[in-house]
C-alpha cells in the first residue's frame, strides 16, 4: 500500500532558514512523531503538508496526491490541530462547527456531537474565551469529525492537562488501529511519543537527522557516560554529540554495537537513549 505521506528531497527556503533535502514517509495505520528543537523546521514541514507554504524543490505526496495540484482532495483527507488553534475568537464552538461542516465531504455530525460531549466543550462560549486546552479539544473534535485519513498535529499537547493528554494519546492510538488513518505528531514533549509513536523523524537545523521506527531508534541510539579520560581521538568519532562535565562525560551515539565493541573494558556506563537525550545531545561538541 502507498504511504499516506511521502516527502522526497523536500527543500524549502526562507530568508534566514532553509529546510533542506528532507525525505521520509509514513505508511497507513501508524503514528509518526516529528521531533526537533524549536526552529528545527517541524512547523515548516506541517505547513508544506497543509499547502500553507510552497515546496521550493523536491516531492511531497499526501495520500498519493500532490497538495499543490490536488489541493481540495488532499485537504479533505487531512485533519489539522495547531499548537494554538486560531479560529474566529468571537464565534462559538457551535458556530465554528457550522462553518467547517459543509467543507468536508465526510463530515460526521453525530461523531462531532459525541466528541463535544465527551470533551465537555462549551458549545455556546466564544472561542476566544476558551482556555488553550479547550481550544485544542475543539480543534481535535473538528479534525476527528471529518474522518481525516491523515491527522497532522502541531504541538497539540502543550496546553493540555495530564489526564486529557493521556486520553488523547490513547484516542490517537485507537484512531490509527484500523490501519487506514495515520497521525503525524509534531512535538518537543518527547514523552508523548514514548507511549505511542511507531516512527520517529528527527529534524535539526532544517535537516533530517533520521527517520526510523521507534524500535530501530532505541536499538541504535545509546548514551554513554564515563570518565572524560575515555575520550580520545579514537573514541570521539563514535559520538554524534558529547557533553563533558567536571568529572564525567555524556556521549550520544547512533551506533550502539560499535560503541559497545570499541569501549569494551573501559570505565563507562551504556544506557538506552531517550528521545530527549537524542534531541539534547545531537550536535553537542563539548
Amino acid at each position: 500500500m502507498d504511504p499516506i505521506l511521502e516527502l522526497r528531497g523536500v527543500t524549502k527556503h526562507y530568508e534566514g532558514f532553509s529546510l533542506r533535502d528532507v525525505s521520509f514517509s509514513l505508511p497507513r495505520g501508524y503514528v509518526c512523531g516529528l521531533i526537533g528543537p524549536n526552529g528545527a523546521g517541524k512547523t515548516t514541514i506541517v505547513k508544506l503538508i497543509l499547502g500553507l507554504a510552497h515546496v521550493s524543490s523536491g516531492q511531497l505526496r499526501v495520500c498519493g496526491d500532490d497538495p499543490a495540484t490536488a489541493e481540495i482532495a488532499v485537504k479533505n483527507r487531512i485533519g489539522f490541530v495547531h499548537e494554538v488553534p486560531s479560529f474566529y475568537d468571537y464565534l462559538t464552538v457551535e458556530a465554528i462547527a457550522s462553518i467547517v461542516r459543509p467543507f468536508y465531504t465526510r463530515w460526521d455530525q453525530p461523531q462531532f456531537d459525541a466528541l463535544a460531549r465527551e470533551f465537555n466543550l462549551p458549545m455556546r462560549t466564544w472561542f476566544g474565551s476558551l482556555s488553550r486546552g479547550t481550544r485544542t479539544k475543539a480543534a481535535l473534535a473538528l479534525a476527528f469529525a471529518h474522518h481525516a485519513e491523515l491527522l497532522v498535529l502541531d504541538e497539540p499537547t502543550s496546553g493540555l492537562d495530564p489526564v486529557f493528554r493521556r486520553e488523547l494519546l490513547d484516542r490517537l492510538a485507537a484512531y490509527v488501529s484500523d490501519g487506514l488513518a495515520s497521525v503525524l505528531f509534531s512535538t518537543h514533549i518527547t514523552s508523548d511519543l514514548d507511549r505511542m509513536a511507531d516512527y520517529i523523524t528527527f529534524i535539526r537545523d532544517g535537516r533530517l537527522v533520521f527517520s526510523s521506527t521507534r524500535e530501530e531508534v532505541f536499538d541504535r541510539w545509546v548514551v554513554v557516560r564515563g570518565d572524560p579520560g575515555v575520550l580520545d581521538e579514537a573514541t570521539r568519532p563514535l559520538f554524534t554529540g558529547v557533553e563533558i562535565g567536571a568529572h564525567a562525560f555524556t556521549g550520544l551515539t547512533d551506533d550502539a554495537p560499535r560503541a559497545r565493541t570499541h569501549l569494551a573494558g573501559r570505565d563507562i556506563v551504556i544506557e538506552p537513549a531517550t528521545l530527549d537525550d537524542i534531541m539534547c545531545y545531537t550536535g553537542r561538541t563539548c
Binding site: 510552497h54 479533505n76 487531512i78 474566529y88 465531504t105
Partner: protein, 233 residues
C-alpha cells in the same frame, strides 16, 4: 466557493448588527445636506469591505481558512462575491435613505434631489467596483497592513489623476462647464456616468456600467488569485 462566501457572511454577520445602524445614522445625517451623500456611502461600503478582511487578519484565521479543503482561487472568488454583496447592501441602504429623503422633500413641495437618481446609483456601482478591484489584489498580495496602505495610495493616485487628467481631456465635470450636471455628486466618474445616461439613455448606460464593473472585478480577481497563490502562512 459558496461555502466560503457563507463563511464570510457568518463571520461578518455578528458585526452587521452594530455596523449597519451606524451606517444608516451617518447616511441619514449626510442625506440632509445631500452633496456628500454619495461619497459617504462609497466610504462606508469600502470600510465594510476592509472590515471583512480585517476579521480574518485580526483573528489570525487565514491559516485556518486555507487549511480547509478549498483552493486559493476559491478563497479569492468568494471574497469578490462578498464584495459584491457588500456593494449591493450599501447601495440598498443608500437608496432607501436617499429615497426617504427625496420623499420628505417632495412632501414639502421641494424637487426630488438630483443626487438620488439611477445614474448616481450606477456611478456608485462603478466607483465601488473600482475600489474593490484595487483593494482586494493589494490585500492578497501584501496582507492586511501593507495591502491597505498600497490600496490607499493607488486609490488616492487614481483619484488625483482623474481629477487632473479628466477635465483636461474631456472638458467634463468642472462646475460651470457645459458638461457639468448640477446636483450630481462631483467627480469624473459620477459626472461621466450622468453624461453617459444623458446621451444613451439609462438602460444603455446601465449595461455599459455593469459590464465595465464586471470586467474590472473579473480582471482584478485574476490578479488577486495569482497573488493569493504566492502567499504563505
Amino acid at each position: 466557493m459558496l461555502n466560503l462566501f457563507i463563511k464570510d457572511i457568518k463571520v461578518g454577520a455578528i458585526f452587521l448588527w452594530a455596523v449597519v445602524p451606524l451606517y444608516v445614522v451617518t447616511a441619514l445625517q449626510v442625506s440632509r445636506v445631500g452633496a456628500g451623500f454619495f461619497w459617504v456611502n462609497v466610504t462606508c461600503a469600502s470600510l465594510l469591505l476592509v472590515a471583512v478582511s480585517m476579521l480574518d487578519w485580526k483573528n489570525e484565521a487565514e491559516p485556518f481558512v486555507h487549511s480547509l479543503p478549498v483552493t486559493r482561487a476559491m478563497v479569492v472568488r468568494a471574497r469578490y462575491l462578498t464584495a459584491v454583496v457588500v456593494g449591493l447592501l450599501s447601495l440598498g441602504i443608500g437608496s432607501a435613505i436617499g429615497s426617504a429623503r427625496g420623499i420628505s422633500l417632495v412632501m414639502r413641495a421641494e424637487p426630488w434631489p438630483r443626487w438620488m437618481a439611477g445614474d448616481v446609483g450606477l456611478a456608485f456601482v462603478l466607483v465601488f467596483a473600482f475600489i474593490a478591484s484595487v483593494y482586494l489584489p493589494c490585500y492578497y498580495r501584501w496582507g492586511f497592513g501593507k495591502g491597505n496602505v498600497a490600496a490607499a495610495l493607488v486609490l488616492a493616485a487614481a483619484s488625483i489623476a482623474t481629477d487632473i487628467v479628466g477635465p483636461a481631456v474631456s472638458g467634463a465635470g468642472a462646475p460651470g462647464s457645459r458638461l457639468f450636471y448640477e446636483g450630481v455628486p462631483r467627480g469624473q466618474v459620477t459626472q461621466g456616468v450622468a453624461r453617459l445616461a444623458d446621451r444613451y439613455g439609462m438602460a444603455a448606460a446601465g449595461l455599459i456600467v455593469l459590464g465595465l464593473a464586471a470586467v474590472l472585478l473579473w480582471v482584478s480577481a485574476q490578479v488577486a488569485a495569482r497573488a493569493c497563490r504566492r502567499q504563505e502562512f
